[in-house]
């Protein structure tokens, strides 16, 4: 069988926070355009896995390879650039700058990439439109509902046309209806643009939006076929 080369591969990741081990040899593959759910109980190492895969944290052992490049070989500045241009991140809350309007928040990654302000705002407006929050574009995060803020955060993660979006409990702070809107918006956009999504969640109904699920337990991936 000739499987395509994965876009993102992690092998044997270990990472400890102080004396508490968070990852103990986790391995994951993410293919182009695939939506992968990583599930597991609280403290199973989900967030740490995402941080390692997105190059936010360097693992103690093991390696992460993105598009043929080993993240460990890249200096911090290049990692930061990679996260800005090829990756998008969405957290449970708090990733929007509280002082900026929704429109400026979404325009920010484009500004950082050197896009002209007017053009960045125009593009940002289009993305807010796609996520149904165009009407809230002049509000600041504190003035929006949780669902609107998360859809704005999604627009911000996707505005640069990334190849991978990392979403850490993106609906964790939302009620089920707002969560459904956020997930539908994420899945549709990702499918249309062929963006791969790594979705961290403890909620099976959210994980069901993915193509595939990987379960973490005690910092390692639970094998698919559990045999007696």
């Amino acid at each position: 069988m000739n499987r395509p080369v994965p876009l993102l591969t992690a092998g044997g990741l270990t990472k400890a926070h102080g004396r508490t081990p968070a990852l103990r040899g986790a391995s994951v593959e993410l293919h182009t355009g695939e939506i992968l759910a990583v599930t597991g109980a609280s403290g199973s190492g989900k967030s740490t896995l995402l941080h390692c895969l997105a190059g936010i944290v360097r693992p103690d052992e093991g390696s992460v390879t993105y598009d043929g490049r080993r993240l460990a070989d890249l200096p911090e500045q290049r990692l930061s650039e990679l996260r800005r241009t090829e990756f998008g991140v969405v957290f449970q809350f708090g990733q929007l700058i509280p002082e900026l309007t929704a429109l400026d928040n979404v325009a920010l990654p484009l500004l950082l990439a050197g896009t002209d302000r007017a053009r960045a705002r125009a593009l940002a407006g289009e993305w807010l439109e796609r996520f149904g929050v165009r009407g809230q574009q002049d509000l600041r995060p504190g003035e929006m509902s949780g669902g609107q803020a998360q859809r704005t955060a999604l627009a911000r993660a996707l505005v640069t046309g990334p190849r991978v979006v990392f979403a850490d409990e993106p609906t964790g702070a939302l009620d089920s209806l707002s969560g459904e809107q956020v997930m539908t918006a994420l899945v549709h956009t990702a499918r249309e643009s062929g963006t791969a999504v790594l979705l961290i969640t403890h909620d099976a109904q959210v994980a069901a939006y993915a193509d595939r699920e990987v379960q973490l337990r005690d910092g390692a991936v639970v094998p698919l076929e559990v045999t007696a």
Partner: protein
């Protein structure tokens, strides 16, 4: 009495169980309170003297009532930057402390209890600082002065008690809103108006000014052959007007800078800085008010100093030896330098604090790939942008004092002092830059884990 003891124990437990930021706040508050007590004690001890005396320090400057009142005013003016510094210290960990006290309120504490616990927390730190400073000052005083008068002792006792009491009152007042709405503060979104501490600071400045004026009026019994209280009074008036203007101006320019720049910003750093200023201009005003006051005084003083030393060195017949005058000038210069140093530390503490409270958001920005350099630049711009126009005005105010004095004395205007505001501006940026290493630590991914 019993409830006070339980409050006291609770205040102690809360302080003991708190994180490093809180200990920083306590340590800095103790330092600030000690400084305030020291300056106030010196002023009180000097003010207790009546008529001529032989004071063995400062080249005879303290012998005469007229010059002595000048020194007292100088000491009291030093209280202004100390107050500013204490204000900054109160901000360290303010968000966490507010949440904690709001939590107490939700757990069923009455508003009065919460206020009392907060007052005790601040008051205890001030009491420690005041006690240390009082003991040291009294030891020093006894070596210089065989038998201090009863008046001096009363004054010392008053100051030693007043500092912690005032600290406690300020601590309780700063909490008005927490006490009123515990829920709003527990799930706080976005900054409040932040005007409370600014108003407290202004009230403190006014109190010091009134005290200084009283000192001038009561201790300088105008001798016919010497300038009476009129000149220092006028100078102080100008300083106060310009200073108060600077406080207002700093806030207003911060707001205006934000409003003008935000729509036009081309880079991410400018955009972030401008929007932050537009959202919360008064935190900048608070931080910068003391800087501007010091600039006015410093610029004006350097002008006056140049003219005076010119006079001293060119005039043959002086009432006192030249060292009498130069010591006076040097003492004033030292006082202003101390004030400047305190102010700069206040600025650095303020910047560090603003970073610490935003660290989760900053970590999220860094995770999203916003480069550290952009975050650092935005941080510096937040200080640099609003300070520039305000610095210009206070520099002009100082120049007016300095050159005005020179013109009145028929001397050439000391243009070189125009460099002072520039130097102060540079020093402020450096002080703000001291928190850049903290930025690097603040954006650790560890901050992304759920609080």
């Amino acid at each position: 009495m019993n409830s006070l003891r339980s409050d006291l124990r609770l205040a102690w437990e809360l302080t003991r169980g708190s994180d490093r930021g809180e200990w920083w706040r306590v340590a800095l508050t103790v330092t600030g309170a000690a400084l305030a007590t020291g300056f106030a004690l010196a002023a009180v001890a000097l003010a207790s003297l009546r008529g001529g005396h032989q004071v063995p320090v400062a080249a005879g400057l303290l012998d005469e009532p007229g010059t002595r009142s000048g020194v007292i005013v100088g000491l009291l003016l030093l209280l202004v930057p100390v107050l500013g510094f204490l204000g900054q210290c109160a901000r360290i960990g303010a968000v966490h402390r507010d949440r904690r006290l709001a939590g107490l309120r939700l757990a069923g504490a009455t508003p009065w209890q919460v206020r009392r616990i907060a007052a005790l927390e601040t008051g205890l730190a001030c009491l420690l600082g005041s006690a240390v400073a009082t003991v040291l000052s009294v030891l020093l005083l006894l070596r210089q002065w065989d038998r201090p008068t009863a008046l001096a002792w009363v004054g010392i006792a008053l100051v030693a008690v007043a500092v912690p009491v005032l600290g406690a009152v300020a601590g309780a007042l700063a909490l008005r809103r927490v006490v009123a709405s515990p829920l709003g503060w527990v799930r706080r979104i976005g900054p409040g108006s932040g005007r409370g501490p600014g108003l407290l600071f202004l009230a403190g400045v006014l109190l010091v000014a009134v005290l200084a004026l009283l000192t001038v009026v009561t201790t300088s019994t105008a001798a016919p052959d010497r300038p009476n209280g009129r000149v220092p009074l006028t100078v102080m008036g100008v300083v106060l007007v310009v200073g108060a203007g600077a406080v207002w101006l700093s806030g207003a320019t911060a707001k205006a800078t934000g409003r003008v720049l935000a729509p036009r910003a081309r880079s991410a750093a400018t955009l972030i800085a401008a929007e932050r200023l537009r959202e919360d201009p008064w935190s900048a005003a608070r931080t910068h008010a003391a800087v501007l006051l010091v600039t006015v005084v410093g610029t004006g003083f350097l002008g006056i100093r140049q003219v005076l030393s010119d006079v001293v060195h060119s005039t043959r017949h002086l009432a006192e030896p030249a060292s009498y005058y130069t010591t006076g000038l040097d003492l004033t210069g030292a006082a202003i330098a101390i004030a400047f140093a305190i102010t700069l530390s206040g600025l650095a503490v303020g910047t560090a604090e603003s970073l610490a409270t935003r660290r989760r958001g900053l970590a999220a920005q860094a995770a999203a790939g916003v480069p550290h350099t952009v975050l650092g630049r935005a941080l510096l711009l937040e200080t640099a942008l609003p300070l520039a126009p305000a610095m210009l005005l206070s520099g002009l105010g100082g120049m007016t004092i300095g050159t005005g004095y020179a013109v009145l004395s028929g001397r050439p205007a000391p243009w070189a002092i125009a460099l002072v505001p520039v130097a102060v501006y540079a020093a402020c940026l450096l002080a703000a830059a001291t928190s850049l290493p903290l930025l690097r630590r603040s954006v650790r991914p560890g901050e992304l884990r759920y609080a």
